[in-house]
């Protein structure tokens, strides 16, 4: 168990978004197992005892997302409403625990809220995510929480009143990082012989791993597929994109076999795209700035739940942006009509679907280029806002 904890500790640290000195992982086996910041041990232990969860991850982001988010909300706000689709689907909303409440009630203040949702934001402590069954669950919830929080805060910088400059100083490392584009022209991803399953699986494995390593998706999210004759190979639901070995389903198109019951929840969308395009590969990730820019809609309309109800097709740097819920909710309907023209489509609040004619070099590079454009565009927009304020 301790090896598992250390594995996820390393993954979180390698991602570079969490302060390693303020990260703590806990799991309950026969006895407690933990690693990370010793100062958080007592709080974690009390939360676990009261909540009875199997795993708990507490971590403070390096960038002051937590402080800025809390500062932007009224002091009486009970929850933050994330706007990204996956979080809206799986977390619903994110409860908040204020510093005063934590001081007054200790772990109970966290437990009260964490017993209602999979993760909470605790002022002065950071993001707290629980896993009922396994440490993987805690990790998945922690990643969702971090993604949702960062997307919301960064989006708000473009459309809400800007915070005091003092707040923004904490973001300098991020701006610095964003000025260096993600490296593109990734090689070694094909073409591969689509008649040879071992070649296909190896290519999927490499592409999945690179997608995670490049920061285009957190490991338990996203999906990938290859079309062959009358079937497709697709990553399984809950698969780690950077550890795909043994987690790929072979799914026949005619539904004559239900083994694909364990395939990604986006199976219907992948199938619909293949049936209406010449694509042979699909890669789906959640690059952060692509997601943020998809949410920055400036059209005037009366739709409230844009992420599922919007029927318009926006265009962002030539790439279509559509809405649609995960699974049986609409992606499979909305993506195929728009994606073939530029082999790339952005789903509102969700992420990018990229197509390849024969390999994964094309979709991965397309995703990288678009994410780089979104990062650059984001910085420009923010810079304009800052300039106009100071002017």
């Amino acid at each position: 168990m301790i090896r598992q904890l250390q594995y996820y500790q390393q993954k979180i640290c390698a991602d570079g978004q969490i302060d390693p000195t303020r990260l703590y992982l806990f799991a309950q086996d026969d006895g407690p197992v933990f690693c990370g910041c010793a100062e958080l041990r007592e709080l974690s232990s009390q939360i676990q005892q009261q909540l009875g969860c199997t795993s708990l991850i507490i971590g403070m982001p390096e960038i002051p997302y937590v402080d800025l988010l809390l500062a932007s909300l009224p002091p009486t706000a009970e929850v933050a409403i994330p706007l990204d689709t996956e979080t809206r689907t799986f977390l619903h909303d994110i409860p908040l625990v204020r510093r005063e409440d934590l001081a007054l009630r200790g772990a109970s203040a966290v437990v009260d809220k964490l017993s209602r949702r999979k993760g909470v934001i605790v002022e002065g402590v950071g993001l707290v995510a629980a896993g009922a069954m396994t440490i993987e669950q805690g990790y998945v919830n922690f990643c969702s929480l971090l993604h949702a929080t960062s997307v919301k805060v960064l989006l708000d910088l473009l459309r809400e009143p800007l915070p005091d400059p003092g707040w923004l100083a904490g973001f300098d490392p991020l701006w610095h990082q964003l000025r260096t584009p993600l490296s593109t022209d990734i090689e070694g991803l094909g073409p591969f012989d689509r008649q040879k399953p071992d070649k296909i699986l190896r290519a999927m494995d490499t592409a999945g791993r690179l997608t995670v390593e490049l920061g285009l998706v957190d490991s338990f999210f996203g999906n990938i597929s290859v079309a062959v004759d009358d079937a497709l190979y697709i990553s399984q639901t809950g698969a780690s994109l950077d550890r795909l070995s043994g987690s790929v389903d072979f799914v026949l198109n005619d539904d004559s076999c239900c083994v694909g019951l364990t395939a990604s929840s986006e199976l219907a969308a992948h199938r619909a795209i293949y049936s209406t395009s010449a694509a042979r590969t699909i890669l789906h990730g959640h690059p952060r700035f692509s997601v943020i820019m998809s949410l920055l809609c400036e059209e005037e309309c009366k739709t409230e739940d844009c992420w599922k109800d919007c029927d318009k097709v926006r265009v962002l740097n030539g790439v279509p942006v559509v809405a649609g819920e995960v699974g049986a909710g609409g992606l499979a309907r909305n993506l195929p009509p728009v994606i073939e023209r530029c082999q790339l489509a952005l789903v509102y609040g969700h992420g990018l679907f990229a197509l390849g004619a024969q390999d994964f070099s094309q979709p991965l590079n397309a995703m990288l280029h678009f994410e780089n454009w979104c990062r650059e565009h984001y910085l420009q927009r923010l810079s304009q806002r800052l300039t106009s304020r100071s002017g």
Binding site: M1, D30, Q50, S115, M133, V251, C258, S265, V326, G327
Partner: protein, 571 residues
């Protein structure tokens, strides 16, 4: 009180007397309904736990227009396991009972002769029903006419230990032999009707919580995916268990069935053609029907084909329908017939199977010994077949050697029923997260938490399939919105924990020990069928016992599997 009627009806079948039992706010808040409430009433209202008693209970969501919530749970002492058993079904009887004004119905005593109980608007009426004697379930339901009803067939009347109770719509209460207890009580039919409606405490929060849950259902490949149970029925599981080398075949001697594709969901669609025949109030619609009625669910489909060896899909459907008509649990029936045919070195053919099912239901010929269930049949048999059961309940269509958490959960379930922990969710379906199926590591804790969650789900009377997508936190939000009382995932899990401990305590009273928390020795000694990586090995007995003992420690049980502290009932 939104969510509940606040009362139960107790009927003494030996006298025909009905008594309305007020249910306190505290009892309802601490049991919710369904499995927990029924177990609670069974315990506190039984003077003698060995006498036949059945408690049927609905949940707080029933009648509130919530998907999959028109469900009923029956808790009783199983004639197969001799322990406490819970059986759950989606059927309009649940709503009708609640509309008649009751959260639960407690049945005690034995009627002097075959009877029918009618519950209409807060009162019960026991009628003699000699005209229903010997009728099958279809005929009985036809005689009763329109309306919500539960009936038994000849199998129940003849106290076949795996007799079922069939509803006028939705699912039967199949497993554990509830039909035999109805038969012992001389209760042929039960009907209910009423006009009560139910309020919601916070309409806005209710709609929000419903939408949150629906999004999770939509995102679930298992529920709503193109190959999920909504599109293909539970038969979708057959391809998966075959691919994972855990489809029980040839009376559990093999774990792979070469002609499996001939019986898959796609064949049901192609050859038979099916449409949705959902439980009332469910839009997932995993139950499928054709023009002639209900089609077999996964366990029945797999057992009549792979386990028993019927060679045609139509024969499997016929056998399943014969069970429905006679009021037999098709899963138990297929297991016992597989043992019977193997013991005689015979291949199962369709006409012999139908004839034997008739004999079982009427306790005629060979059917008399088969009607006792596989455990007693095996003990009395001279052919030496292992009894493929846990605690006396015939095994489902998942070979325990193919998923260790599943194996352990089957052994630990108080009813011998894999549905108590649904370990195949994470070991096969990868939800909520995938776990390593060929490992016991960490499974004790996972099983305990899943048992608690499912017991809570059974107490809310929500379909167990849905826990693959939504969790207690979503259902807690819905319950809070409906009732106006604050619930969270932890409080629901605590009710689930109490429910399992109550069942453990009841089984202790019935003489259960750690020896009952096991599996047939065969699965530890024998390998399954060869796979790409070699044969599926037998279970490691030492690791199995170590993890079982870890479960005991985590749950607060002693070395015999008994609660260290006697569970306290709410007042």
């Amino acid at each position: 009180m939104p969510g509940w009627c606040g009362q139960a009806l107790e009927v003494d079948l030996s006298t025909g007397q009905s008594t309305v039992l007020p249910l306190s706010f505290n009892v309802l808040r601490q049991t919710l309904g369904g499995r927990a409430l029924a177990g609670h009433l069974l315990r506190v209202r039984s003077d003698d736990l060995t006498l036949p008693t059945i408690c049927l209970a609905t949940g707080p969501f029933c009648g509130a227009n919530i998907q999959t919530a028109e469900r009923l749970v029956a808790v009783f002492r199983s004639p197969l396991t001799s322990g406490v058993f819970d059986s759950s079904a989606g059927c309009s009887f649940a709503t009708a009972l609640k509309q008649a004004g009751f959260d639960a119905l407690l049945l005690k005593g034995e009627a002097a002769s075959l009877s029918q109980l009618r519950i209409i608007n807060t009162s019960g009426e026991l009628l003699l029903a000699p005209e229903l004697s010997g009728l099958d379930t279809t005929q009985t339901l036809d005689r009763l006419g329109e309306g919500a009803a539960l009936v038994i067939g000849p199998a129940g009347e003849n106290r076949v230990r795996f007799a079922s109770v069939v509803a006028n719509d939705g699912e039967p209460l199949s497993r554990g032999g509830l039909g035999a207890v109805f038969g012992q009580m001389n209760l042929k039919a039960l009907s209910a009707a009423g006009g009560r409606s139910f309020a919601r405490a916070d309409e806005q929060a209710f709609c929000r919580a419903q939408a949150d849950i629906q999004r999770l259902y939509n995102a679930s490949p298992f529920l709503c995916g193109p190959l999920g149970i909504g599109a293909c029925g539970t038969a979708a599981l057959l391809d998966l268990t075959q691919a994972r080398q855990m489809l029980p075949t040839a009376n559990f001697r093999q774990t792979s069935f070469n002609p499996a594709a001939e019986f898959a969901a796609s064949q049901l669609k192609k050859k038979i053609g099916f449409s949705a025949g959902p439980c009332p109030g469910c839009r997932i619609a995993c139950r499928k029907t054709d023009a002639d009625g209900r089609l077999p669910e996964y366990d029945s489909l797999a057992h009549f084909s792979a386990l028993l060896g019927l060679s045609e899909l139509q024969q499997v459907i016929d056998a399943d329908r014969c069970c429905q008509k006679l009021g037999l649990d098709p899963v138990s029936a297929a297991v016992i017939l597989a043992s019977y045919f193997e013991g005689r070195n015979l291949s199962a053919d369709s006409s012999a199977v139908i004839e034997l099912l008739e004999q079982i239901a009427n306790r005629r010929g060979s059917g008399a010994e088969l009607a006792e269930g596989v455990r007693l049949f095996s003990e009395r048999s001279t052919t030496g077949q292992p009894a493929f059961c846990t605690k006396g309940l015939e095994l489902p269509a998942f070979d325990p050697r193919g998923a260790y958490g599943f194996a352990l959960s089957l052994a630990l379930s108080t009813a011998g029923d894999y549905r108590h922990a649904q370990a195949h969710f994470h070991e096969l379906l990868r939800k909520p997260v995938p776990t390593e199926r060929f490992s016991f590591v960490g499974k004790a804790r996972i099983i305990m938490q899943a048992e608690d969650a499912l017991a809570a789900c059974d107490s809310l009377c929500i379909c167990r399939h849905t826990l693959v997508a939504a969790g207690l936190e979503e259902y807690a939000a819905l319950l809070s919105a409906l009732t106006g009382i604050a619930f969270d995932a932890a409080s629901l899990a605590a009710i689930g924990w109490q429910t399992v401990m109550r069942e453990r305590w009841l089984n202790q009273q019935y003489g259960f020990t750690a020896a009952d928390d096991s599996l047939p020795a065969y699965f530890f000694a024998e390998e399954g069928s060869p796979s790409a990586t070699g044969p599926v090995p037998g279970l490691n007995p030492q690791l199995f016992v170590e993890e079982r003992d870890r479960y005991y420690r985590l749950r607060g049980l002693d070395a015999a599997g008994h609660p260290l502290v006697t569970p306290v009932e709410p007042l």
